[in-house]
């Protein structure tokens, strides 16, 4: 009997909890990012160093993306959106480490991320609009759309999972196949392409999460004063 290449085999157990490769690599990523950020943010000064400039560039880019998409102040949404982007990016690029397999190449990690986005969408929507206000959004533009809007919530979460999983998993598989055929130098262009794909997927995942949350927050989002289109509210449904 042949096992599925997508199946996860526990590496070891802690009590009843099986620990798989994605979990361990995610812990490594958490350790890397946590310690790195702790060390990098210890000596922040008004006159930034090169490393601080890089950190400010990343944070500023995330803020600008949130501000431009949601047309509101990004502070409230920055931790979630920024973490999703950085985690997915680092997870996708972890394929460069020999023997490591990106956690995002497994459905469980992508599903966890998508469920977190779904939960955040509901949380921010209810927090901003109130429970009644949020539920009323399902009846927009008419009550006939309620089933479709509910289905949309599920399908777009599912699309988040599948999109990220499919892109990363395919890249891993292609590189694995090429490695099995020609192990020296040949996979390098594909690995570079995989880096680009991983960055793009991280960006897409973060932007879609921003759009979903923005749509849930919707008309109650406080316009940013510097935005030229502050009068316009993101009422449109996200396209996938």
């Amino acid at each position: 009997m042949t096992t599925s290449p997508l199946a996860l085999e526990p590496l070891f157990h802690i009590g009843p909890v099986p620990l798989t490769s994605p979990v361990l690599i995610t812990w490594a990523i958490i350790l890397l990012l946590g310690v790195g950020c702790f060390l990098a943010s210890r000596r922040l000064t008004p006159r930034p160093s090169k490393l601080q400039c890089l950190l400010e560039l990343v944070v500023g880019a995330i803020d600008d993306q949130i501000r431009n998409t949601m047309e509101t102040e990004p502070a409230r949404y920055r931790p979630l959106i920024g973490t999703i982007f950085l985690y997915v990016l680092v997870a996708n690029w972890s394929s460069l480490v020999p023997g490591a397999e990106p956690p995002t190449a497994h459905l469980e990690t992508d599903a966890a991320l998508a469920f977190i986005v779904l939960g955040a969408t509901v949380y921010f929507g209810v927090a901003t609009r109130g429970l009644g206000g949020y539920l009323k959004t399902f009846a927009e533009p008419t009550w006939v759309m309620i089933p479709l809007n509910i289905v949309e919530q599920v399908t777009r979460t599912f699309s988040l999972i599948v999109r990220l999983f499919g892109n990363v998993m395919s890249g891993v598989f292609v590189i694995g196949i090429v490695l099995s055929l020609a192990g020296l130098l040949v996979p390098i262009p594909l690995m570079a392409l995989d880096l680009l794909t991983g960055a793009v997927q991280a960006y897409i995942f973060a932007v879609l999460a921003t759009v979903f949350i923005g749509a849930a927050v919707g008309e109650r989002a406080k316009p940013h004063p510097s935005s030229d289109k502050s009068a316009e509210k993101p009422t449109g449904k996200p396209t996938e």
Binding site: V17, I30, S41, A111
Partner: protein
């Protein structure tokens, strides 16, 4: 497809933990330092704007002060010019007055000098006339200088007012008779006879020699003088000439 629910749950927890970690160690500190820098930049910009506004105010004040100084300078120059003009006019007037005074003084002095010169010239002419007349009379007989003038003197005395004639020789003083030379006894007698005839009484006469008479006789009393001599005639002529020149 098989889903490992344990992995799904652990990954969910892992991502949530990562959200907290990155928020605590990355996003919050970096956002705070960015915000602090923006606040500091805004403060600097506000301070710069305030400083600029203050500088503009100071520059406006300086410009106004400069304008006031320039205006005061112009006013001072105008006042000085007006004062100088007034002083100039006053000095010109004073100088004009002084010039007029000096001119009047000079003209008066010139007039005096001219008058003095005329007098000198007249005196010289008189002396010249006297010399000429004397030299001419020297060619005549000596008695002509006296005898020829006795009748004229008596006629002049007779022409005097009665009160004058009656007062002559009444106070006890002798009448003074001036003659160009010493009189002979005959001449003295003839003259006293003519005077007695003219006055109607006999009077005492004291004779004084006065060569400047050239010729003729002059009778002097404390209150009257009767001249019948060349000197008197020449003096009258000179006076008439002078009056003629002035006229």
């Amino acid at each position: 497809m098989h889903i490992d629910w344990w992995t799904l749950a652990l990954q969910t927890v892992n991502v949530i933990i990562l959200v907290w970690l990155l928020n605590h160690f990355l996003f919050k500190p970096v956002a705070a330092v960015i915000k602090a820098r923006q606040a500091e930049a805004n403060a600097i910009l506000d301070e710069a704007a305030a400083t600029k506004a203050e500088a503009e105010t100071e520059r406006t004040k300086a410009r106004q002060a400069n304008d006031r100084l320039a205006e005061a300078h112009q006013k001072a120059l105008a006042d000085i010019a007006a004062e100088a003009a007034t002083e100039k006019a006053a000095r010109l007037a004073a100088v004009g007055v002084e010039i007029d005074r000096l001119r009047a003084t000079a003209e008066a002095e010139l007039l005096d000098r001219a008058r003095h010169a005329d007098e000198i010239a007249l005196n010289r002419a008189s002396r010249l006339a006297v010399d000429i007349a004397g030299k001419l009379l020297d060619r005549l007989p000596a008695d002509v200088r006296v005898a020829g003038f006795v009748d004229g003197l008596a006629d002049a005395i007779a022409a005097l007012p009665e009160t004058t004639r009656s007062a002559m020789g009444q106070t006890g003083d002798d009448l003074t008779l001036k003659a160009p030379r010493a009189l002979t006894d005959a001449e003295r007698t003839a003259i006293q006879a003519r005077l007695a005839e003219a006055l109607g009484r006999k009077v005492a006469v004291t004779v004084e020699i006065e060569p400047t008479l050239i010729a003729g006789l002059e009778l002097e009393t404390p209150h009257a003088q009767v001249c019948n001599s060349f000197r008197a005639d020449l003096a009258r002529v000179a006076s008439e000439l002078t009056q003629h020149d002035k006229g």
